[in-house]
């Protein structure tokens, strides 16, 4: 069998150390059959399984996942006594496709999740406008809605790659402040037009109704471009942890700017210089100066399978699977390497490839059981390329703290263990 596979692999190889063209999965029927034989020999199923002999549960009012999936969880983290100032991370190593289930969407809060009564919540639009206006959830729901599938990434995501030594981490612990949902809401520009912006109004201040009353300043150009007030996430009302009953959503921008539990929009001439846009979410550079208002998330990709803290079960044909995204628009290409970046092959982009959404990529890989260093590298439609960690650090040091979009390396050891390394 191995002779045949080797000859197929030579034809289908796209890069060194076992990376194959996607046709490999279609052509290696022998391998699939072999695998099935292997399974049936291992554990012959009974003729009728136990669950097929008794009535199942009745329909559910609100769906639950299988009991067997109960260990697929976010990892909430916080430091007592400030229990509400924490984050929970999406378990990318256990997920597939491009949409993050709402219950597994990452969270980052500054003083907990408020319990907002939607009938009492109000949104005020004021400042440099001719007509200050108040909206409630019911009236906003009557406005023309738009729906878009788009990612949200905390700008502190992948910060662990700044560490001097590689951390023992997973796709979840290193890259879990990233998720993708279908967001439905009202374009903010419609509401601002109704309030009539004055000509000096070049920025807005967005304020949340959580107990930190979180605030960020947003340039009017983004409001005009694609800002929405999101009311629905993946078809249902927003989850409380994601801003119920309404949040600002700024596609492609650092997550903190998509202010949750939105209660106020103030049109201003200049940024308000809030705590979160000056002392936090600013980028400290090696010369001691810091950059304000770096909003857009860079072109980036991660391999989610196989990924850190997983174990591969012996040599054979696998599928490398991962996510790519860019705040600039669409992903145009993703390359994968299995030899630490010496040779690269193009991965298949699993459509749809949407602007400012997560794009799933896949690549067949015949693991020969030897050590491998797997990486992915993303390109976007503007021509931007994901940088190496070395290049990123040489450009901006290790105190930058935000917007880390470096190529990350998973090492596959001969025993199948997968771990985060620098290469």
């Amino acid at each position: 069998m191995s002779d045949t596979d080797d000859s197929v692999d030579q034809i289908e190889a796209v890069a060194a150390n076992g990376l194959l063209h996607r046709r490999a999965f279609l052509k290696t029927g022998a391998l699939v059959t072999g695998g099935a034989t292997f399974l049936s020999a291992q554990a012959a199923p009974p003729e009728v399984d136990a669950w097929s002999t008794v009535p199942g549960r009745p329909p559910e009012a609100y769906g639950n996942r299988s009991d067997f999936e109960s260990d697929v969880l976010r990892t909430p983290g916080f430091s007592p006594p400030a229990l509400g100032a924490g984050a929970s991370r999406t378990p990318h190593g256990s997920l597939e496709g491009m949409i993050t289930p709402s219950a597994l969407h990452f969270e980052r809060h500054h003083n907990g999740i408020p319990n907002i009564d939607p009938d009492e919540h109000r949104l005020l639009i004021h400042g440099l406008v001719d007509r200050p206006l108040i909206f409630d959830l019911e009236t906003l729901s009557r406005y023309p809605l738009v729906s878009r599938i788009q990612f949200l990434e905390c700008s502190g995501n992948s910060r662990l790659l700044d560490a001097d030594q590689p951390v023992d981490g997973s796709a979840q612990s290193i890259h879990g402040l990233l998720s993708c949902s279908e967001w439905t809401g009202v374009p903010l520009s419609i509401l601002l037009d109704e309030a009539v912006i004055q000509t000096e109004g070049m920025w807005v201040l967005a304020e949340g109704a959580d107990s930190s009353l979180m605030t960020r300043s947003i340039p009017m150009s983004k409001v005009r471009d694609d800002a929405i007030i999101a009311l629905y996430q993946n078809g249902e009302r927003l989850r409380p942890g994601n801003g119920y009953p309404m949040r600002l959503f700024l596609p492609g921008w650092e997550g903190n700017t998509s202010v949750k539990w939105l209660r106020r929009i103030k049109v201003t001439e200049a940024p308000t210089m809030t705590r979160d846009e000056t002392s936090k979410y600013s980028d400290l550079r090696p010369d001691g100066s810091a950059q304000l208002f770096s909003f857009q998330m860079g072109v980036k990709s991660i391999i989610t399978s196989p990924s850190g803290q997983q174990t591969m079960r012996g040599p054979g044909l696998y599928q490398i699977s991962g996510l790519a995204w860019t705040g600039a628009g669409r992903i145009s290409r993703v390359e994968v390497s299995a030899d630490g970046g010496r040779s690269w092959g193009d991965a298949e982009l699993s459509g749809p490839v949407l602007s400012k959404a997560l794009t799933r990529f896949r690549m067949p890989w015949r693991w020969n059981g030897g050590p491998a260093l797997i990486q992915s590298r993303a390109y976007d439609e503007t021509g931007a390329v994901q940088p190496t960690r070395t290049a990123l650090i040489s450009q901006r040091g290790t105190q930058y703290n935000y917007h880390n979009h470096a190529i990350q390396t998973w090492q596959v050891s001969s025993n199948g263990e997968v771990s985060n390394v620098y290469s």
């Binding site: 430091s79 400030a82 500054h110 200050p132 108040i134 980028d283 304000l292």
Partner: protein, 177 residues
């Protein structure tokens, strides 16, 4: 016939081009006018020039007393940091591999201290301090960073005049320049 087709196609293209803009302007107009009193009640944000600062005042000594009760548990003695952020010190550390960003070493505007403390602190009871207490705490935090002396009284006039040490340490990203 041929000309008609071309014209029709041009017309359709024009309609398609205009449509998104036409739709974007369409609004049910359901916003309820907000009175100046309503706006004043909601608008607590303070601009870097001191816009919207309220009446009241506070001293360094008053701030020290409030700090001991309200802030010490999370931020430690003299703003050294404990379970939460360090608030003082770190001067000269920004260029090193162990940067310590504090109110004194990093924050560009003193007005931001007032704005943030008033809206978000103390963590377990945000909004429980009155404006004079927030002025006092701001004065104390600036004093332990060596920015103002012990006799300082902060209010709507004096706070915006404070020059923070790292005021010129920031540049705007090319996205907004």
């Amino acid at each position: 016939m041929f000309i008609h087709k071309v014209l029709m196609r041009k017309f359709l293209v024009l309609i398609l081009l205009l449509c998104p803009f036409a739709l974007a302007q369409e609004s049910p107009g359901l916003g309820v006018p907000a009175s100046p009193e309503e706006v004043a009640g909601w608008d607590i944000s303070i601009g870097p020039e001191g816009e919207n600062l309220p009446a009241g005042s506070g001293t360094v000594a008053q701030g020290a007393s409030i700090y001991a009760v309200q802030c010490f548990a999370c931020h430690g003695p003299n703003g050294e940091g404990a379970t939460n952020d360090r608030l003082a010190g770190g001067h000269g550390s920004l260029e090193t591999a162990n940067a310590r960003k504090t109110v004194g070493s990093y924050w560009p505007y003193a007005t931001t201290v007032f704005d943030y403390v008033r809206r978000a602190m103390p963590f377990q009871q945000p909004g429980s301090l009155n404006d004079g207490e927030v002025y006092a705490l701001t004065a104390y935090l600036l004093n332990i960073n060596g920015i103002v002396d012990e006799a300082t009284v902060l209010n709507a006039e004096t706070l915006p005049t404070i020059e923070m040490p790292n005021r010129d340490g920031f540049i705007w990203s090319s996205e907004v320049r």
